[in-house]
Amino acid sequence: MSTMVDARGLSCPQPVLDTLQQLKIQQKGELIVMVDTDASKENVIRAARSRKWQTKDVQPEGSGYRITFTKE
């Protein structure tokens, strides 16, 4: 069971804020984050990594990316 943060169209630093907020609530499991710029992709991955979440998968979707994070 995974949750999703849709950060498409949001400008910096909103995608990171939304992602971190969800990571805080969720603690572990799987989280999918949708972003639409490369800068947001890098920022979200960097933020998740700093919270010890792993980037499992990055898939292009539409004009952006679908990123899957996991934590045991």
Partner: protein, 361 residues
């Protein structure tokens, strides 16, 4: 494909290179401690096209044109051009206006604040403290749910609008070259004295502008974001970039004899501490609410973000107001109405920050 410029080494490398190039641009002719100043240079462009008629600050700065076009080239080369629009454009315009006014009360954007610091201008310390305070207030709004809403994907040509404006400015510059002793050439205004009369050779300025625009787009270099991420996320990624800029500019200044520590008599600077602080407080808050420092707004505009382009237009118009209404400071101190403008700007930013928020779940 991994983006090496977005790594820690990448951002440090880009910051260092910008620091060296900015100090060298001063060495090659740009005004004192103003090798690169996004706010000042946008203001000079506003003067060049006659939106204000402050005789000492009129020049079509090729660096600014290069920043936008360099970012555009990088965005296309790496398939990152994303035309987008619609995240509260009018608010971004107003933030651009007041960001510019705040910066011109201090006499510099964050880039120049760092360059002034790297050249020994003690007043810049107070400016940077104000900048950080403004960003700190902005971060509180972000934590409280402040959000200008989503942008939507749009026509490619929407993303081209500001780059095309910059191309137009470049054409004007090339067909209306400066005539010695004349303050006008074709439609463009030039300065005969003051900072507007000081500039590196056009092609050199343009080339460095393009290079910096390209690298900043790749690395997401942002001076406001540096402090914001540090305060908001305890993250030092962007911060390491501006520290690199500071150290590199300091080293270069030492080497070429541009380091002159002190408070009094610094180039294009005043010593009114409270207003150095408050001008940057306003600018820092406006940048944070708009999501980027003035440089970053130019780079975002180059990669298709038309909301950032609107912020840039706001800065151009804000520069017009700043000089027409005597809000901008001069080496003598703040302008007659600068203090009122800073107060109004802070009230406007608080209104924006307090009323545009989504409920935090």
């Amino acid at each position: 494909m991994k983006n090496i410029f977005a790594t820690r080494k990448g951002i440090i490398g880009v910051g260092s290179l910008i620091g060296v190039l900015a100090a060298l641009l001063q060495y090659w002719g740009n005004p004192g401690n103003m090798g690169i100043c996004v706010a000042c240079f946008v203001r000079d462009i506003a003067g060049a096209v006659g939106l204000h008629r402050a005789g000492v600050v009129q020049y079509m700065r090729p660096e600014i044109i290069g920043f936008v076009l360099g970012s555009l080239i990088a965005a296309y080369a790496f398939k990152e051009f994303r035309p987008r629009a619609g995240s509260a454009p009018i608010v971004r315009f107003v933030l651009g206006v007041f960001a510019m006014i705040g910066a011109l009360v201090f006499l510099g954007c964050p880039w120049r604040a760092l360059l002034r610091l790297a050249a020994g201008d003690g007043n810049a310390v107070i400016g940077v403290v104000g900048l950080v305070a403004g960003i700190y207030i902005g971060v509180q709004f972000l934590k409280g749910g402040y959000n200008l809403g989503r942008a939507e994907k749009t026509y490619t040509s929407v993303g081209w609008m500001l780059p095309l404006v910059m191309l137009g400015f470049l054409v004007l510059l090339l067909i209306s070259p400066q005539i010695t002793g004349e303050n006008k050439s074709g439609v463009l205004f030039y300065s005969l004295k003051g900072p507007g009369a000081m500039h590196a050779p056009i092609l050199l300025s343009l080339a460095i502008g393009l290079l910096v625009g390209f690298l900043a787009q790749r690395s997401r270099f942002c001076t406001m974001g540096a402090f914001r991420d540090l305060i908001l996320f305890r993250q030092i990624h962007l911060f390491s970039g501006i520290i690199a800029l500071l150290i590199a500019a300091f080293g270069t200044n030492l080497l070429v004899g541009q380091f002159h520590p002190g408070f009094v008599g610094q180039p294009v600077a005043h010593t009114m501490g409270l207003w150095n602080f408050s001008g940057m407080l306003l600018a820092g808050l406006a940048f944070t609410l708009a999501g980027g420092c003035p440089g970053r707004q130019l780079f975002l505009a180059g990669e298709g973000d038309s909301d950032a382009a609107i912020f840039v237009l706001g800065m151009i118009v804000g520069a017009g107001f700043a000089h027409n209404f005597a809000l901008a400071s001069s080496p003598k101190g703040v302008g007659p109405h600068g203090i009122a403008a800073v107060v109004i700007g802070l009230v406007v930013c608080l209104f924006i920050g307090l009323t545009m928020r989504k409920k935090v779940v």
